[in-house]
């Protein structure tokens, strides 16, 4: 049973860390992209 617990904790930890990192990076790049687009459209309007 110990082996099962350790193995599945490792699996879940890996998947959890990957999902967390992926979603954090998506949110971060999304906000930076929106800021860059706003800057460009602001320049265009000027």
């Amino acid at each position: 049973m110990t082996e099962l617990a350790v193995a599945y904790l490792a699996f879940i930890g890996l998947i959890g860390a990957y999902v967390y990192r992926l979603l954090s990076r998506l949110a971060d790049v999304d906000s930076r992209l929106a800021a860059a687009e706003n800057t460009l459209s602001f320049d265009e309007n000027e």
């Binding site: 082996e3 193995a7 599945y8 699996f11 990957y18 992209l33 860059a36 687009e37």
Partner: protein
Amino acid sequence: MKTSIDDEGQSRRTMTSVRATGAALTALGLTGAATTLLLGLLWAPAVDPEAWNAPEAYRILFWHVPFAWSSFLAFCVLFVGSVAWYSRRSEFGWRLICTGSDLGLLFGLGVVISGPIWGSAEWGVPWDWGDLRLNTYGLLTAVALFLVLARNSQPEGHDTRDTIASVGLFGFALVPITALATTWYQERHPGIIIVESEEAGLAPEILTVLMLGFASFFVLFAGFALLSDTLHQMESRLSHLQRLIDKEAVH
């Protein structure tokens, strides 16, 4: 400039839609994987204690085997990306390389961590340096690790991409060797249990849970691949827009 920004707005809407599909597939895949785990722990029967040294530890395989198959899929994506990059210098090919190496590392690490845990219980040793499959698979995961580290540490450019794509092609060559190693040269790692189920004596419930695991991890893989591709596409667009802003600031 206006047309270019409009095109980019259209492209962004497409990315948003792909991202939503990726998120939905990821949620579905995670639900399936969790169901596989619960069924594997609670519903699948115990195996014959006479035939297995660690009859309870076999339940590790309900995620270990789909992880391994998903990693092979990731290396196929890496291979297609490497070929696309070499043949056409395709940006899509490069994004496939990024996605394939990320997912190859994720699923490869899962296999390399869980395999020795099961091996310790079943064989009494975590690793066998004489077993072809274990060692080629370990090398395959090391290739994925190298690719991810190289992408994050080397300066962006065609030279770096060429090097990474060539290592990706080499990595893919290990996939058929690893996949067929138990048929060609079996030392310790078990054979193909799905195909040889009669000989392996697996109960139908165990096969059902394994098949659910394969389907769930396939969906999860597709979700991860779509989200990862969207991320790399967004990063590429961000770099492009930042260059435009820099250019406007200069003029």
